[in-house]
Symmetry: C2
Subunit: 491 residues, 2 copies
């Protein structure tokens, strides 16, 4: 960019912002899901387009849970409602079913000036908040008050909003401490770095299927004593990048821990539709804590959901919501004030969230096709989850826990010492070194385990289960060849 | 909400988050555009709907620049392109013109998996970055490199992103100082409070049509000495809430000042299409500084644009962009890393921004209708700007500078001492007291001047020029009656 800028305006002179003066928290921040490996993958795609010879023909972007980018088709009904809301002239078109038109009319009636181009209230359109509350209530068999829901620009923004409230505004031993899992989705570590908060790392137990043990939570909290003021614990269920699904027993123990230690619970439940393993089921933290009764049912809980995952995978719409449970009234008002500055979340993202939580009902013209499209996506994902786990476990030097849910496998790779030394010599982590070679030799783009955190001396990578079924066999063949070649080279 | 939560889950027990423990910067933050007057207006609307008797029949929301909410109709071509991108099955429909289809196909081809439901690169879709760069280049007669453009979730988010980079990560006299105008759009004050930065207030001169004098910039910077590390100066042009449009001379002086003092220039240019006054024209800071040549053409500038204002007023799509000029290469890379965490701005907001900057060209089927719709909106806004200024200046105890641009009038109200005492007795600022009475008695919802900042001892309010022309006469009659009654009551 520097060179290009020079041609733009002969830019020169002393700069106000340099790497020495720019916000140091931003400098420190890392987000591996879009890190250097992904940047390199984009370069390789350009090189391929320019006709440069490579040992492969296409880049397989298995780094990010981006469903439509890897061939999943949008759910028709969602897109019909969005198109009708965007261009209401289509209400006359025979191309659209009656229930999509009714839904669009109902939402438009709740938009100021009957337009998706106007701002909504900052927590979202009231009708949509109510549809979400009804969904949560059906899901959990527990009441849900719509005024505790706020919509957001993807779940990420909701998570950042709640984390911001938890900050103390102080540093050193008075900074906020937030418990996050290792491995974790790096939004958490990046946001804590940006806010200058203290991450209290608790480790998931890979040997026990990435289970979350209360003894480990106690260990982590004890180690953080005197270093921060612990405020909250983040749980990702189903797990990202680990794919584990928590049992009721496990969830109850976490809730008791949070209650005993006076922590807010942050439940990242964006993969709640993505459950594949036999015997696994999704239980929300809200449902479990309400069923436990007082005093556990009194603890503060924020739960996050997204329009980007599940069966819809509408990442580009940036839809999501947060349910706040048991927060103090004036704190919740303070949060609502804080989100008013951004005005409102994207209206069309709100609409996608609405269709997901209030889909066509039995008897509606679109009911059958909606269900069929939804089930096809989820069935295929379950098949791919099983296939990928099995294939990884059939390869020497790899072990992979069952992908019970979510959209990723997080296999462990056992690297020879020579590879570890070669990586260190290049000032790279061994898993980065491995993923980098994997990309250059096969075109498969993954994320090194170090981007999520992992137990010292273990190495992993995250790969999505999203590529089309027919491509997965090919990709896994490519992968196996690479891996054995790599082991052989460094043995 | 407290009561409702009790019925939800019998919530009780000690809370982790209270007003004592919640992030103090969030507690301090204020955003008057959606403050208590607006909350009260929403309550009044509900009361009216429930049949409660009021001295008026409807609430006039003149508090926020929300064009479609006040009756402006969307630009057809924008909505056609968005609908086609959302539901590509419409490519077959005769309801859509060929150029809208071509444009939608071109954008879809640049979306991963040919879907607006996939993520884009974090700075936005490359084709759209290029269209924006071409627009800027045509506008300014200066080169523009597309890699200096990043799209954002409304201009607000872009502004926050740049302000974040400018923070020092330190407090006390080492905190970042940012120069902001008084009066200003409260996004700036709210964000600086959130980030714990030091606002360096410079006053616009109401007597000289809200002009921006360099002597005042010098005064403000001098007063801030020892209190912070001055990093940047924000300019809003055309002005919000003041409606002034800066002359070339004025802009050159500001640039020289920023260069002399080593400040980054932040140019909030979201109203660049909204110029009404004879003799006024929009000149971007980029154009002027490039034409000035070195060393002024070397200074760091970030310019912001939005899909929410102008002739399109598509607030709900949350589209916007920032152009970074002359930033150091590694600083710009650091910024790109920081925005990667949020994944990407809403794709449909990006598409709106694309149509605005790359509209139908002469010879295209939609050219004439697009131009006509655009010109009709802008002509009407110019008429309303003139009408409202004239009407305010015809009322005793009010003075109002010419609305040269943007979407607001910011009249000064001369309040009798008795009104000021009555307000103080209720622990309200006199302008809040005034606007609150205005709302309760007429249904007109405005924002008190204290929400934007104003010279000590002066009182104002901000009112949008957006209501339909036929309504403005009625609203102004209501206003005049109220105002004279108010003066009479407190004389």
């Amino acid at each position: 960019m520097g060179d290009q800028q020079l041609t733009d305006g002969e830019c020169s002179g002393t700069k106000v912002l340099t790497m020495e003066t720019v916000n140091p928290n931003v400098v420190k921040m890392e987000y591996a899901v879009r890190g250097p490996i992904v940047t390199r993958a984009a370069e390789i795609e350009k090189e391929l387009a320019e006709g440069k010879a490579k040992p492969f023909e296409t880049v397989v972007k298995a780094n990010i849970g981006d469903c439509h980018a890897t061939g999943q088709t949008p759910i028709t009904f969602i897109r019909q409602v969005v198109a009708l809301c965007t261009y209401p002239q289509l209400m006359q078109s025979p191309m659209f079913p009656e229930d999509a038109k009714q839904k669009a009319k109902r939402i438009l009636a709740a938009c100021n000036g009957y337009s998706v181009g106007s701002y909504s209230a900052s927590p979202g359109i009231e009708v949509i908040q109510k549809d979400i509350a009804a969904y949560i209530s059906r899901r959990d068999g527990q009441p849900c008050n719509y005024s505790n829901i706020f919509l957001c620009t993807g779940a990420s923004e909701g998570i950042k909003t709640i984390l911001k409230m938890l900050m103390t505004g102080k540093s050193g031993s008075e900074q906020a401490g937030i418990m996050i899992p290792v491995p974790q989705y790096p939004l958490y570590s990046a946001t804590l770095t940006e806010y200058n908060a203290y991450p209290i790392h608790y480790y998931l137990d890979e040997e026990k299927g990435w289970s979350l043990e209360v003894s480990e939570l106690n260990r982590a909290l004890k180690d953080a004593k005197g270093k921060c003021i612990p405020r909250a614990i983040c749980i990702i269920n189903p797990g990202n990048p680990t794919g584990q699904v928590l049992s009721r027993d496990n969830i109850e123990n976490i809730i008791r821990f949070a209650h005993k230690e006076g922590l807010v619970l942050l439940a990242d439940e964006v993969y709640q539709h993505n459950i594949y393993a036999k015997g696994s089921e999704f239980l929300s933290f809200k449902k479990v804590l309400m069923e436990m009764g007082p005093p556990c049912s009194w603890i503060e809980l924020a739960s996050f959901m997204s329009a980007s995952k599940g069966f819809m995978g509408e990442c580009g719409f940036r839809g999501g919501y947060c349910e706040m449970v048991n927060f103090q009234d004036d704190v919740q008002k303070c949060l609502l004030k804080s989100i008013s500055v951004k005005l409102c979340p994207p209206i069309l993202g709100q609409i996608v969230m609405d269709v997901v939580t209030n889909p066509p009902q039995e008897g509606d013209p679109s009911y059958a096709s909606f269900q069929e499209e939804k089930n096809t996506v989820l069935k295929l994902l379950a098949e791919k989850a099983r296939l990928i786990t099995d294939l990884f476990n059939s390869i020497e030097g790899i072990s992979c826990n069952e992908v019970q849910g979510a959209m990723y496998a997080f296999p462990r790779i056992y690297l020879p010492d020579k590879a570890i030394i070669a990586a260190r010599n290049m000032n790279q982590t061994p898993d980065f070194f491995y993923c980098s070679h994997l990309l250059e030799e096969t075109g498969i783009c993954t994320v090194p385990g170090s981007g999520f955190g992992q137990k010292e001396g273990t190495y992993h990578f995250r790969i999505t289960i999203l590529p089309p079924l027919e491509e997965i066999a090919r990709v896994m063949e490519l992968f196996r060849d690479f891996h054995l070649r790599f082991l052989n080279k460094y043995k």
